[in-house]
């Protein structure tokens, strides 16, 4: 029983991390129908932003969230304006966009090697290894923080998407861009903003994972792959679906250790990814908030 609680709590914490990583990928896909293959690269950049702020300027990683959000947002808008917007017509969301953004990831990675070398880095704060006791289990404070932020993000996103004009416009663009133009919504601008938001979310995910893991310029692949699994499971572009899918993936991976060797637990996620794509392409929950 105690073991069960331990595993369940680990799964919840892991879900927080997975969800945080996946929101950015999901929202960009939901609105633009573009799979941001540079997602892993942005997560890596987010980690370095946090690291630079912490190491060089002494800014606490949690306090640097707004800075990382702003910087990643600008990066995302630039990515949209300079790259994604110029994709040959009809190819948006197709393999061309995958390759384009993969190319950008390579550039980001190379940039990071030049700027920061290939050394493993991590952000160490007073909380890095501290823990609190919940239900008899010790839980890492940094992981709880990630879970908290991972839970606040969907609420914030939900409020933003449902309660503001801009948010509603974003959802409307996801569902029918032409109608949006008719009522005066500048669809291109909305695309840029959405790409920015998705990138900002990825940046925050990078910052937060930097408080948990060591990272280097090559990091990001496993984050991207996990995000894929979560986003596909949750129904591409659904915010609550993403959260729920993160939980499912985490539970499956964590509890898989009871029957599978630890090494194979992450294969379970990939198998789920393929099965869901083939059997339920709309995601496990079908319902899409964005479109």
């Amino acid at each position: 029983m105690e073991r069960f609680i331990d595993l369940a709590l680990s799964a919840v914490l892991l879900a927080g991390l997975y969800a945080t990583m996946a929101y950015g990928l999901g929202i960009i896909y939901g609105v633009l129908r573009v799979v941001n293959l540079a997602h892993g690269g942005v997560i890596m950049m987010g980690a370095y932003m946090g690291w630079v702020l912490h190491r060089k300027l002494g800014v606490d990683p949690y306090l640097s969230i707004p800075i990382v959000v702003a910087a990643s947002y600008l990066l995302g808008v630039a990515m949209y304006r300079v790259l994604v917007r110029h994709l040959p017509r009809g190819a948006a969301g197709g393999p061309a966009s995958l390759l384009l953004l993969f190319g950008f990831w390579l550039v980001l990675r190379n940039g990071a090697y030049l700027l920061f070398t290939g050394d493993d880095q991590s952000i160490t704060t007073a909380w890095s290894t501290s823990s609190v006791v919940v239900l008899g289990s010790q839980l890492s404070v940094s992981r709880l923080a990630v879970l908290a932020i991972g839970s606040v993000i969907p609420v914030g996103l939900h409020l933003f998407l449902h309660r503001t004009h801009l948010g509603r416009a974003i959802r409307a663009v996801a569902q029918n861009p032409d109608s949006c133009t008719l009522v005066g919504v500048d669809v291109e601008r909305i695309y840029g903003i959405t790409f920015g938001i998705g990138t900002a979310l990825a940046g925050v995910a990078g910052l937060l994972s930097a408080t948990l893991f060591a990272f280097n310029p090559g990091s990001g692949s496993s984050e991207l792959l996990k995000s894929f699994v979560v986003v596909v499971l949750g129904g591409m572009g659904s915010v609550p679906g993403t959260g729920l899918a993160a939980l499912i993936l985490a539970v499956v991976e964590v509890f898989a250790i009871l029957v599978l060797p630890s090494y194979l637990t992450s294969a379970v996620g990939f198998v789920m990814l393929v099965l869901v794509l083939v059997i339920r392409p709309g995601g496990l929950f079908g319902h899409r908030v964005l479109g």
């Binding site: 073991r3 331990d6 680990s10 991390l17 493993d120 290894t129 010790q138 280097n216 991976e253 630890s262």
Partner: protein, 417 residues
């Protein structure tokens, strides 16, 4: 028309012709120097350590050239190092070794870093009968192929497991650890991790009744989340926590370890436990009493000898920084090659190979002289040095006794019993 026209074939032919003409076979230059080639992961996932190895190699080459070169027979020849970047990629490492041997015409090869790159690359050296000295891949598997031109200055990783267990065994016999002691054995699913596991499990098998391996699990390199695995360890209620992990996994895993309130009588993460990067990332408080076994430590410079000479030279060259075992083994490999050349009195590859296979030299490694026993695939068998982190942020050598600079503490006093 959608398909290609003759023009493309022309272009292709031109390109291939260029390739053929642009990279023609070069005539061997007159022997004015000893040319040594190596590739290193200067970019990619092992870039950091690739850089360390480079420092070791370069120091060795500079020293020799400063002294006027190698005495080869009756002439003094300078040594030249051709260093290429293999980007931590096997195919590239192989292909560049091809280039070094066949295009750049190097006389000898020094190894790259990390077991899988070396296992792939050393086949080229073997093929063209070029002596290949390496201090970057300790997996025994590399040396079990019966290669004649491959020499390892790096002891088998199995010995790391064995050495750690030997110290633990002493503590158990001294009554400081329970008997039987339950072990959680976590190993990275790489050649390195597998050897570590073998070292520990062989030791356990030979000491029946003293140890029980309760958890035996591998994990993926760059695993990120170890909570389920650590949950399993927790549930197993073990006494000894023996893991083998690379630096990033060590940092990630140990953060989760500490946060989830785990504490064991003995904790080790293999080779990386005392690395400065890890101590910075984890905090002195959280790494105290962690054991690590390394091939070489700068503390070996406490006594006069090759280690002290090396550390002095290294600090002078690299701004007072302490070298780690990466630099030391790289330096050692280069120096050993030079010694073999000088002793052979020629740059003839076959003669140097034979000299390497038979020579015994005093080296900066602990234990006896360095030699490459043929029975063990020409891999050095020097013992590891076991270090333990202390509460004041130091990591003295606690084993073997003859080089120890401190005393080990068993049954981690941090843990509530």
């Amino acid at each position: 028309m959608n398909i290609a026209r003759p023009s493309f074939l022309k272009a292709l032919l031109a390109a291939l012709a260029l390739l053929a003409v642009g990279l023609p076979a070069q005539a061997a230059p007159p022997k004015a120097r000893v040319s040594v080639g190596a590739t290193l992961p200067l970019t990619g996932s092992e870039a950091r350590i690739g850089g360390f190895v480079k420092e070791g190699y370069e120091l060795a080459f500079e020293e020799v050239n400063k002294a006027g070169g190698l005495q080869v027979g009756n002439q003094k020849l300078p040594v030249a190092l051709t260093l290429l970047d293999d980007a931590t990629n096997q195919a590239t490492a192989v292909s560049l070794a091809d280039k070094l041997i066949n295009s750049d015409k190097v006389d000898f090869l020094l190894g790259t870093y990390s077991s899988h790159l070396i296992e792939a690359q050393s086949t080229v050296a073997e093929q063209y009968k070029v002596p290949y000295l390496q201090g970057g891949g300790g997996a025994t598997k590399i040396f079990k192929r019966g290669f004649k031109y491959l020499f390892g200055t790096i002891s088998p990783v199995e010995l790391l497991g064995t050495t750690l267990m030997t110290w633990i065994d002493q503590q158990q016999k001294a009554g400081k650890l329970p008997k039987p002691a339950k072990i959680a054995l976590l190993w990275e699913n790489t050649a390195h991790g597998k050897d570590f596991r073998k070292g520990v499990s062989d030791f356990v098998a030979q000491n029946k009744g003293a140890y029980i391996i309760s958890v035996d699990e591998s994990f993926a390199l760059d695993g990120k989340d170890f909570s389920a695995l650590l949950g399993k360890v927790k549930a197993a209620k073990v006494d000894l926590f023996l893991a083998d992990a690379h630096l990033p996994d060590y940092i990630t895993m140990h953060r989760q370890y500490v946060a989830s309130g785990l504490c064991h009588k003995v904790v080790s993460y293999g080779a990386r436990g005392s690395e400065k990067g890890a101590i910075d990332a984890l905090g002195v408080e959280n790494v105290k009493y962690i054991l690590s076994g390394v091939w070489w430590s700068s503390q070996l410079a406490a006594k006069p000898g090759p280690s002290r000479d090396f550390v002095t030279a290294f600090k002078a060259r690299y701004g007072g920084r302490d070298p780690e075992w990466f630099q030391a083994l790289a330096y050692l490999s280069a120096k050993t090659l030079f010694a073999a050349i000088q002793q052979a009195g020629t740059v003839d590859r076959e003669a140097v190979r034979q000299k390497l296979a038979t020579m015994k030299v005093k080296s900066l490694l602990p234990g006896g002289p360095l030699e490459f026993p043929a029975a063990l695939g020409q891999q050095a068998q020097n013992p590891f040095v076991v270090q333990q982190n202390t509460p004041d942020g130091k990591s003295p050598i606690i084993f073997p006794q003859d080089v120890a600079t401190g005393t080990g503490v068993a049954a981690n006093p941090k843990c509530p019993n």
